[in-house]
Symmetry: C2
Subunit: 340 residues, 2 copies
Amino acid sequence: MSQTPKQSAERPVPTSADVARLAGVSRATVSYVLNNTSAVRISEPTRRRVREAAEELGYVPHAAARSLRAGHTRMVLLPTAHVPVGPLYSQFFNELQWALRRLDYTVVQYGSLGLEGDEAARAWAELRPVAVVSFGEVALTRHSVDVLKRSGAKAVITLGPRRVEGAHSLVMDQSEIGSCAVSHLVARGRRAIGVVMPEQPGLELFSEPRLEGARRAASVTGARIEPLPLSYDEESAAALAARWRELELDAVYAYNDEHAQLLMRALQDADIDVPGATAVIGADDLLLGRLLRPRLSTVHIDMVTGRRLAELVDGMVREPGDEPEIHDLMGARAVHRESS
Amino acid sequence: MSQTPKQSAERPVPTSADVARLAGVSRATVSYVLNNTSAVRISEPTRRRVREAAEELGYVPHAAARSLRAGHTRMVLLPTAHVPVGPLYSQFFNELQWALRRLDYTVVQYGSLGLEGDEAARAWAELRPVAVVSFGEVALTRHSVDVLKRSGAKAVITLGPRRVEGAHSLVMDQSEIGSCAVSHLVARGRRAIGVVMPEQPGLELFSEPRLEGARRAASVTGARIEPLPLSYDEESAAALAARWRELELDAVYAYNDEHAQLLMRALQDADIDVPGATAVIGADDLLLGRLLRPRLSTVHIDMVTGRRLAELVDGMVREPGDEPEIHDLMGARAVHRESS
């Protein structure tokens, strides 16, 4: 797997011993100064000499060595796979990263495409993160959580639709979104409701529970639910619109605002009146929905803020002894505009 | 900065010595087996015993220890900051991550919000990556590249609008996009051209060279260029549309398709005919442009594929002695639809 590094004509990587020699101090002093250890008294001139020697040699402390000594890092690992990230998640990621940095953590997103369960947990554990925040893209088991904890992780936190045993779960109940959308359509008098199911891989984590929520909301009222697979391109949307009249639907919950934009355009091009013949509702409450005509109804999602999540992570790192907790962190409400 | 880890009631983290003891082998054997070293002959029963002992104790090798021994890792570090990532970049990131994994690298995105130049380089160097691929969000200098190389990075690669001395630069010439857009508008007979400049922080890395390209294309023809600051919300777009007639523009290059959608809606709401009174062109060639009416003209961007970039990274890691190369990796062409 790993190859022997080619040394060839390259200069050797400077070590803390080189810095100590140049500065005329001990290696321990170099370590104290460069790791900002305040417990040890070192004069300002000595500190300056060490820093200048490090600068001259181009020496950087090795996080690996430091974490070997400390037994853990200040690293918060966020596994990421291939789920297409929308604007809502981008903003959330930025906020979380910023808030964790302010608490003196380093945020590392670990590419986990193709990794599953225990294999994933072992790969992450090798970096000895102090906390892992998983967004549910990689399925974890009770055992993978144990692997991470045994390797020194103080907190394993899962966000997302599913609970994971042994982990702190911050449940974002996606079914609530489907339920909100369908309740809104039923309240507006609709009884035969399509639910768009995107065909993009990875999205079933979100679309399946949303469909479940849609069914739940419909079952109380006797409305009919019809799942509608759709890939995110014009041809699929046109094909769906072409057989729309056979489907005898009077409304559609289109998964999110982007899919709603796609489907609404195809329906309009097929002379199906929105909202007259078919009401349309999306989700995410993106700006684009307000730019469409008719203006798009949507489900507004209140996600946990990045700042709040950073505080939860920090709390769990500081008090890791607590029992795993479950927080329900997502709110959803329908926003009525012109398309429904 | 770092606190002493609380040991309290937690079980100690298992070490390779524990595994060796349980399996009745030496620590070296444990290391050979778990790091899949093929150079050393170890019988299959012994390998199995070591793996079972590791499994029972929940032991995972420490990447830090391994990289201390090897002097480097198989980690490719991608610094990320807060630039809003559109669908084009998401897809590229996924591809790159996938292709690097197939070449047996681990992809780590390092949250670098608020880090600049040398400070950033030192933070990344602490993880001893074998390669760093920077997307230009964090400004690197010749010196930061040296810091990374001294710490063992075989390849420092910058993508993005700017060259960095000492690094392999895969230049994506953003000015070409602005130039394409304006050449298209001029060819369609327009002479007074607005250029939308998004006010979102981070985007100036892209918008400034695009404006420069727009000016370059216009200067040849005597067309006038007018920069138009715009924040991505309805109010700003409406305010810009309200003073549109004073600006006496007959065309606008709206930075990208999303900003074009926003501005085109505001112009239409202010009864300014598109393309009659004002031609509009975006960039990125997103699906949404084809869903608008009139259909949006755009600049199609040919980015380097993730697979091609992964091969370049791998080549530079294997042959790090080469002089820094500059590749121009981006193509751009105008796509004419109905809005221009």
